[in-house]
Symmetry: C2
Subunit: 198 residues, 2 copies
């Protein structure tokens, strides 16, 4: 409006999820008028994260190390592998606090209509991981949506002939909902009541 | 959690107004997993804004130029000066679209309890501006809060002996409310029905 650069800042803040024009304006004014220290730190942290955050070689979560802190934690149970469809789901399960095994992060769920097949979501990396780690049980924690269920079924079928158990977290999480919005108690319950698929 | 750097990114996003832990986590994952181009642009724009955004010599709004685009626009009416308490209020009035004069931005409102006196909010800069510009009417658009009213009254008293009119925007804006949240129509109405104080 009265400054091209301020307009650009407002516009660039709109790339953040859930931030509309009014919020972006408030954020821009706040950063420049009231918290330049916070703004500088934010800018530096984004730049550093862009440079250094890659994927964990084991679970494929975002990390600045070759293997993330969770995967290299000797207190985690190496015999359990929980498969999730997004990092937010992994966060939600960790915050629930009842699961102490390992993870594997798919990049989304199968969706043939959108051209998203097994290779796109990381199935071959999952099989490589299973070949090299002492996993005894795979817990399918994909979202209870159509795509999540299809992905879980696909993986269960793929693992049918392997020497390991395959389970699906219990329906305690609302069907059609998103795992990351489920409260910790419900998630714990869903883990404890998981169904053996094989 | 599993990455120190990702935790730092989430933490630094929490400096944004209205962003709690859950939103910050969503934002961090979105930036790093799905929109690294947007993240890079955001980081660069914040850095550039920090380096280049200063205050307009006339209205004191944020700008990368010595005098902002609004103040240097020859189509604005130089005889009207609207005084606001925040840049968001200036934005709201501009978006209402019915005012075509100039602005002066106070840095907040008088609040003796908090040690905020005339010098802190820019009253001496206002007087300097009035000495040098062809202003015929000062429109007090301070928020209709206790501090806003006190500030408007203080300025009205200070300008009593000058050769100019002083008006207050009409109460049409909800008393006790914040100007920036008022819709454009109400703001236009408040401008048209402004009360002459002197
Ligand atoms: Zn990992
Ligand atoms: Zn200006």
């Amino acid at each position: 409006m009265h400054s091209k650069l301020l307009d650009q800042l407002i516009q660039s803040l709109r790339c953040l999820p859930g931030v509309g024009p009014k919020s972006a304006q408030r954020m821009a004014l706040y950063l420049m008028e009231r918290n330049r220290t916070g703004a500088a730190l934010l800018s530096e942290t984004i730049t550093e994260a862009l440079q250094r955050l890659g994927r964990c070689q084991q679970c494929r979560a975002l990390t600045e190390e070759a293997v993330c802190r969770l995967c290299s934690n000797p207190n985690r149970d190496q015999s359990l592998l929980c498969i999730v469809g997004s990092p937010a789901d992994m966060f939600a399960i960790e915050q629930a606090g009842s699961y102490n095994g390992m993870y594997f992060l798919l990049t989304g769920h199968l969706s043939p209509i959108d051209g998203i097949g097994p290779q796109e979501i990381g199935i071959s990396e999952l099989l490589t991981l299973l070949d090299s780690r002492p996993v005894q049980e795979v817990i399918l924690a994909n979202n209870p949506t159509v795509e999540g269920e299809a992905t879980a079924s696909y993986i269960a079928a793929l693992l049918r002939d392997r020497e390991l158990s395959v389970s699906r977290i219990a329906h305690g999480v609302p069907v059609g909902g998103e795992l990351e919005f489920v409260d910790g108690g419900t998630l714990s319950h869903a883990f404890n009541g998981r169904l053996r698929l094989k």
